[in-house]
Every structure is written in structure tokens, then in C-alpha cells.
């Protein structure tokens, strides 16, 4: 089982994501933004950071990187893809997920241990959680406000496509407290908090994030 992690210029959390995949029992494979090649991986993680300096809009330029052609093609065919933070922004810009992410409503960078409720445990990346399970996963972002029109928000909620919601307060102004969403098929997930930082008690407040990476092993077996 190979999990590919894309490195864009300005990615910050690619190494942590590879480490999380390894801890979960997968073979982590480094993918490069400039290569239109997924190196036969079984799943892809788009990591956090400030790819291409967040110029224009967060994720707007990364979305056209050569590797993204393959990621978009694969995602449409059912390849599990997890976009974390900046990766979530890339997935929205790619239109693999609806909506967009804008600056936090309070206009400050945020870094905290965040309580989340996993609302959809049927996706490739969340099948190891219990439905409604509350977890603590770190959140650190500048452009973390999830926005979409009411029709899209109703659709996401109606189809059970809200993967995770913020609990104990909304940290960034995301509409309807949405922290993560999935596509219709459940193979593409975008999440603003960082599960890859919560895989080891030495460096994180919990190991609650590891389940994202163990879930995908089960999803592709």
C-alpha cells in the first residue's frame, strides 16, 4: 500500500504527512509537483503549507501543477485523495470539492488544539472512526474559512458530505462550522485541521489523527 504525498514549492507538512502514513503502516512515497506522475501510489495526500506562496489565492496556482492533472484524473476514478489545510484549498480550487476557503473572519493566523466531530465515517479517510466521534486535532491556518452558497451548503449537509465539524466554538468563521467535506463518492476529502500532526504524543495533543491514515489502508485493500 503506497501513499503518495505531493511536495509543492512552499509545502510545509509533506514530511509530517509521509511520517504519519509510515506510522499507519503504509509505504510513503514522495511526489513532486512538477512531475505528472503518481508513481503507482494507491492514495494521495496534498499537504499543508503555503504552496506557491498562496499567491493569487491559496491553492490557485498549485491546482495547475503538472502532478495535479494526474491527481484530478485519479480522483475522478476513485483514487483516495486527502487535502489537508492548503491541500483542502487546492481541492476546492480544482473543483474536486465544492466551496472555497477564505481568510479567517478574525483576520489572525490561528494555531490551537481543536475539538472536532467526525460526522461522516463512510469516506476512504474516516472509516476507522465511529460516527459522531469527537477528536482533538490541531488547527493552524490563515485562510481557513469555508464558504459556499446556501444551496451548496444544504446539498453537502443533505447528502451527509460534511466529514467533520468544529465543536466548542467556530475558530475561523467557516460556514455552518464545517471543518471538512467529501465528494459524492467519498474518496476525496478536504480537511482544514492537521491529522498528520496528531499521530504521536511526543509532538501532538493526541494521536486522534492517525485514524485518517489507517482508514485509507482499509479503503484500498
Amino acid at each position: 500500500m503506497k501513499v503518495g504525498v505531493v511536495t509543492f514549492p512552499g509545502s510545509l507538512d509533506d514530511v509530517d504527512a509521509r511520517r504519519a502514513a509510515t506510522l499507519a503502516g503504509a509505504e510513503a512515497v514522495a511526489l513532486w509537483h512538477g512531475d505528472a506522475d503518481l508513481r503507482e501510489v494507491d492514495a494521495v495526500v496534498l499537504p499543508g503549507g503555503f504552496s506557491y506562496g498562496d499567491y493569487l489565492r491559496a491553492g490557485a496556482i498549485s491546482r495547475f501543477a503538472p502532478v495535479m492533472e494526474k491527481v484530478i484524473e485519479g480522483a475522478r476514478e476513485g483514487l483516495p485523495v486527502l487535502g489537508i489545510c492548503n491541500g483542502f484549498q487546492v481541492l476546492c480550487e480544482s473543483h474536486l470539492l465544492p466551496g472555497a476557503l477564505i481568510k479567517n473572519d478574525h483576520r489572525k493566523f490561528i494555531c490551537k488544539d481543536q475539538r472536532l466531530r467526525i460526522e461522516n465515517n463512510g469516506t476512504s479517510w474516516t472509516n476507522g472512526y465511529d460516527a459522531g466521534q469527537e477528536v482533538t486535532i490541531v488547527l493552524k491556518n490563515q485562510d481557513g474559512g469555508f464558504v459556499a452558497d446556501d444551496e451548496t451548503l444544504d446539498m453537502l449537509e443533505g447528502e451527509g458530505r460534511v466529514v467533520a465539524r468544529y465543536v466548542d466554538g467556530n475558530p475561523n468563521g467557516s460556514y455552518r462550522d464545517i471543518a471538512g467535506i467529501t465528494n459524492e463518492r467519498g474518496n476525496v476529502v478536504g480537511l482544514m485541521p492537521h491529522p498528520e500532526h496528531c499521530v504521536d504524543t511526543l509532538t501532538g495533543p493526541s494521536t486522534d489523527g492517525l485514524t485518517f491514515f489507517t482508514s485509507v489502508l482499509k479503503a484500498t485493500v
Binding site: 493569487l56 489565492r57 490557485a60 496556482i61 495547475f64 476546492c92 480550487e93 465544492p98 466551496g99 472555497a100 477564505i102 481568510k103 479567517n104 473572519d105 478574525h106 483576520r107 474559512g145 464558504v147 459556499a148 452558497d149 468563521g173
Partner: protein, 113 residues
């Protein structure tokens, strides 16, 4: 004679229903600096695109496509395309005020020199 170079301008604004935290911050600064009577500030982006040659309808259509694909995210933003001092009239943004602003800017530049 040098090749004529047309300028196409793309203005991008967040849709009215989308919160604009940057505009809010600027609005806050207006108040602190004593610029009163300002009801709201929305911040957008302006792209000045210089073409090699004239702004034909076809090329403006290409820029419009680029605006839709890259410069603006139609999920949260609206955009308008217009040609400055060009041969093609296009887009909902009025040319008049924009040109007059540019003339002023040129004058300022000359004064500085």
C-alpha cells in the same frame, strides 16, 4: 514604429455575499485615521495584462477565459474584463473613469521625473 501593445484589465471582486476580512480591516483603519462617513470597504484585485499587439475580440475572449480559469475563482468572486485605450469595447466596467485615473497617474509620474 514599435509594435502596438494593448492593455487588458481584469478586475476581480469577492461576491457581495462573501465576507471580506481584508476589506473590514481597511475599513477599521479608516475609522482610526479619522476618515469618517465610510459605510463599507471591499478589497479586490486588478490585473493589468499587456498584449503583444492589438486587443482583438479573439484575444480579449482568451483573457476572459484566463480570468475565469485562473485570475478569479467563480465560486466566490466576480470579475470584469475591459480594454484600456484599445480597439475593443468589452466588459461591464466603464472605461471613462479608469482612463482618467490613469492619466492622472501618468501626470504624477512626469512631475516626479
Amino acid at each position: 514604429m514599435s509594435t502596438p501593445r494593448a492593455r487588458v484589465v481584469v478586475d476581480v471582486m469577492l461576491k457581495p455575499e462573501i465576507l471580506d476580512p481584508q476589506g473590514k480591516a481597511v475599513h477599521g483603519a479608516f475609522g482610526r485615521l479619522g476618515f469618517d462617513g465610510v459605510a463599507d470597504v471591499r478589497q479586490g484585485k486588478r490585473f493589468e495584462i499587456t498584449l503583444d499587439g492589438e486587443a482583438t475580440e479573439e484575444r480579449v475572449a482568451e483573457i476572459r477565459k484566463a480570468a475565469e480559469t485562473l485570475l478569479a475563482n467563480p465560486v466566490i468572486e466576480d470579475f470584469a474584463v475591459h480594454v484600456e485605450n484599445g480597439s475593443v469595447e468589452d466588459g461591464p466596467v466603464e472605461d471613462g473613469p479608469v482612463e482618467s485615473v490613469d492619466e492622472e497617474a501618468e501626470q504624477v509620474e512626469e512631475t516626479v521625473r
